[in-house]
Amino acid sequence: MHEYSIIESLVDSVAAAVPNNATVHRIDVRIGEVAGVDCTLLATAFEVFRAGTLCERASMTIERIPAQWECPRCKNPIARGAFLRCASCNEPARLAAGDEIVLQRIELEVD
């Protein structure tokens, strides 16, 4: 259950990005499918952890980014569940998307 640690880092990241007198209303995060983060647990951790922080009155939306493997040479995508090697070039695939753990956007009001 490292989702609590991630929320702790998220709140720190928000604090570093906004002015002291800001009220945070909403934060948008992007979580990749193979980032190793469970979105349901992350949402629960946020509900519990935000109390007493500058995110206390903020909502969080999570955008789930599907894993996308591709050949580094011909850029052809690898089908889901298939061997992670390009059938034509025989190159080991590269993860093009799906490992994000990113704070994307903050909506706030400054007093």
Binding site: M1, H2, S5, I6, S9, L10, D12, S13, A17, V18, H25, V29, V34, A35, G36, V37, W69, G81, A82, F83, L84, R85, P92, A93, R94, L95, I101, V102, L103, Q104, R105, I106, E107, L108, E109, V110
Partner: protein, 224 residues
């Protein structure tokens, strides 16, 4: 109301500390391995067997667990300079925990540092510690489909040690099925079959370590 586009990595602070650790290791010629795997997959036993077959003075270890310093004590008995990192409730090591413990570990003459992570196939994969390589211990008692169930852990692995293979005759584990599962979650699956108890595969594991260390440091020399 205003919006700020931040687009920042949430674990940026951990990643910064990991980079700091990595530079520390590379400047000292230390090849650092993050050893991960389920509880009981044989991580400590592999390191004990490594100590039996290798120059122990060139090896050091940090052993992470929620509680007890049992693993570090085992490694110490095997002749490896070791320190325990007890995480309390945390299910993984992070770069800061490693950085803090490095101040208490004498790394003079060390070529290989093993960071034995908390036994867990999920959380440790998320945190960069500053390692040069990720190694996952997967024992034959765990079932063939573990890689498919925990794809993130295996996608990040540079090498998978299939451990306890001396138990194969009693279990009938299908090694081909494990290889098939690995190829669907690891772009370039590298596997060593190993029995820490009987010493089988230790030579291949040591050869992988030596080759991987040489690759990193010869590349660094070329760049310099």
């Amino acid at each position: 109301m205003c919006k700020i586009d931040v687009q920042t990595r949430i674990l940026a602070r951990n990643d910064d500390t990991a980079s700091h650790n990595r530079i520390h290791f590379l400047e000292r010629g230390i090849f650092t391995v993050n050893v991960m795997g389920s509880p009981g997959s044989g991580k400590t036993a592999v390191l004990e067997a490594t100590a039996r077959a290798f120059d122990r003075r060139a090896i050091a270890a940090l052993a992470g667990d929620l509680a007890t310093d049992n693993d570090a004590a085992r490694l110490q008995r095997a002749g490896i300079r070791s320190r325990a990192i007890t995480t309390g409730q945390a299910c993984h090591l992070d770069a800061e925990l490693v950085h803090h413990e490095l101040h208490h570990l004498d790394l003079s003459g060390v070529d290989y540092l093993f960071i034995e992570n908390v036994g867990n196939l999920v959380c440790p994969a998320v945190y960069d510690l500053g390692q040069s390589a990720n190694v996952v211990a997967l024992s034959v008692t765990e079932g063939e489909d573990k890689p498919l169930k925990y794809p993130t852990m295996f996608a990040k692995a540079d090498l998978v040690l299939i451990t306890k293979i001396d138990l194969l005759p009693y279990l009938g584990t299908d090694l081909d099925a494990i290889q098939d599962a690995l190829a669907r979650v690891m772009p370039n699956p590298q596997v060593v079959l190993l029995s820490a108890r009987e010493g089988y595969g230790i030579d291949s594991w040591l050869a992988w370590l030596t080759k991987s260390r040489d690759e990193i440091f010869s590349a660094a020399e070329v760049m310099a």
